[in-house]
């Protein structure tokens, strides 16, 4: 493993995130939860990896090899999250759904994703209504059978209502001539920018690979 390659990948991902229009504040805010976890990795992994000790903490030894592994994991994690942020999270979920469809992802999965996007908010509101109904009658969660049963009813009712709603949606779709196939109105067109992006990305990957293996 070459540190230069890892650093290059991280820098590339950071540049991509910047180009995607994320400001430094947003980027740091989104990386924060990941790095909280990474801090734990850096703290613990060197203790459990055998190797040259560099520090002794009571009965535990910090190994150099362990620290290297932990640092590599942290760098990789950050690079991956930055790249996903820049390339996937910046996209409208609907565009993502259509793109997945064109990439040959099974239709059922694409529809599942698109319906989730559409109905997440509806179900959340349904849940909030139910939760409010419980609250206005004086319910306060405690460690008690009553609490567990109430949550059980809440989740159960949400499932029943969702099922009902899905049946009404299928009915609405049938009314409009649905026969099991979705037709997409929009089609993507390959533009000069796409080609440019593809070439630049391929060149960058080649550079990272070259740094890693030579």
């Amino acid at each position: 493993m070459r540190w230069e390659a890892l650093g290059l990948a991280l820098a590339g991902a950071a540049v991509a995130a910047g180009l995607a229009g994320f400001g430094p504040r947003t980027i740091l805010a989104r990386l924060a939860p990941l790095n909280l976890f990474m801090a734990l990795v850096v703290l613990i992994v060197p203790l459990t990896t055998p190797g040259t000790p560099i520090a002794v903490l009571g009965p535990w030894e910090y190994s150099r090899e362990g620290l290297q592994v932990a640092a590599a994991v942290a760098l990789k994690g950050n690079a991956i999250v930055l790249a996903i942020m820049a390339l996937v999270a910046s996209m409208d979920p609907i565009v993502l759904g259509h793109a997945l469809h064109h990439l040959g992802i099974p239709e059922k999965l694409v529809h599942l994703m698109l319906f989730s996007v559409r109905y997440f908010e509806v179900l959340r509101r349904e849940y909030l209504r139910l939760a409010a109904a419980v609250k206005v009658r004086g319910f306060r969660p405690r460690m008690s059978r009553h609490t567990y049963r109430t949550y059980g009813y809440l989740v159960g009712m949400l499932l029943v209502r969702s099922l009902d709603r899905s049946e009404r949606i299928v009915a609405a779709m049938k009314c409009r001539g649905f026969r099991g196939r979705f037709y997409l109105l929009d089609h993507f067109a390959l533009t000069r920018r796409d080609l440019g992006f593809a070439v630049a990305t391929a060149a960058f990957f080649a550079l990272v690979a070259w740094v890693e293996w030579t």
């Binding site: 979920p93 559409r118 009404r168 609405a172 409009r176």
Partner: protein, 230 residues
């Protein structure tokens, strides 16, 4: 089809969700060309059930349904009906399931096998006719209640139906949105079957009203708003 024949006729139709509690029991209903009929009745009396039967979402346990001059009994019969009879659902969230307005309005015409260019044109025209220009790329779930109802109506009208079935088209809307929906419905040159609890809406939009009680329809005394076509 004979010009004088009703668009829709239900004769002696019965239906029950549970055998022990019949909802419709020997119901008769006729809708003439260009006629607008209001349906009233208590909650749970089966008004929405009538509309669901007419587009084949439910099947009657007895009786006959004729639409556009043909007896409709099997799923295949109703596929043709659904292209020509538009049903507006009570809850627009059930009806709008595509992410964007344009896709939702296009869904029906695309299912009918129309070419994409024609569909785009229909989407633009339908939205324009409802005063929804520029809504094409709006997310359906971020619309207000009134906007949702109008977009749902657009998805129905984009199929270019000959009959409209409206299940409480103004339920849950504020005064302004209600006025707008009524205004639009009054302008449409279509036969309608309309469920509503609001007297003034029925007066404004329908030629006659029927009350659903004990599983059958009973005429309600003439309520203004015009006379039935000859």
């Amino acid at each position: 089809m004979d010009v004088n024949e009703p668009l829709i006729s239900m004769s002696s139709v019965s239906f029950a969700y549970e055998p022990s509690r019949p909802v419709l029991a020997g119901l008769d209903l006729e809708l003439a060309p260009n006629e607008r009929v209001g349906l009233v009745g208590p909650n749970g009396s089966g008004k929405s059930t009538i509309l669901a039967l007419l587009v084949g979402l439910l099947r009657p346990s007895a009786g006959q349904i004729r639409i556009f001059g043909k007896v409709r009994a099997a799923e295949a019969d109703f596929r043709e009906v659904r292209g020509r009879v538009g049903l507006l659902f009570q809850d627009s969230d059930d009806q709008l399931f595509c992410p964007t307005v344009a896709e939702d309005v296009a869904f029906g015409p695309l299912n009918l096998g129309m070419p994409r260019d024609r569909v785009r044109q229909i989407v633009a025209e339908t939205l324009q006719s409802l005063g929804l220009e520029g809504y094409e790329d709006r997310m359906t779930y971020r619309l207000s209640g009134g906007e949702k109802r109008l977009v749902a109506l657009a998805t129905v009208l984009a199929m270019q139906p000959e009959v409209l079935l409206l299940d409480e088209p103004t339920a849950g809307l504020d005064e302004e949105a209600t006025a707008r929906v009524i205004e639009i419905l009054a302008r449409l040159p279509l036969a309608m079957l309309l469920i509503s609890h609001q007297r003034e809406i029925l007066d404004r939009l329908t030629h006659r009203t029927c009350r659903l009680a004990n599983g059958r329809l009973w005429p309600v005394l003439a309520c203004g708003g015009g006379t039935p076509p000859a």
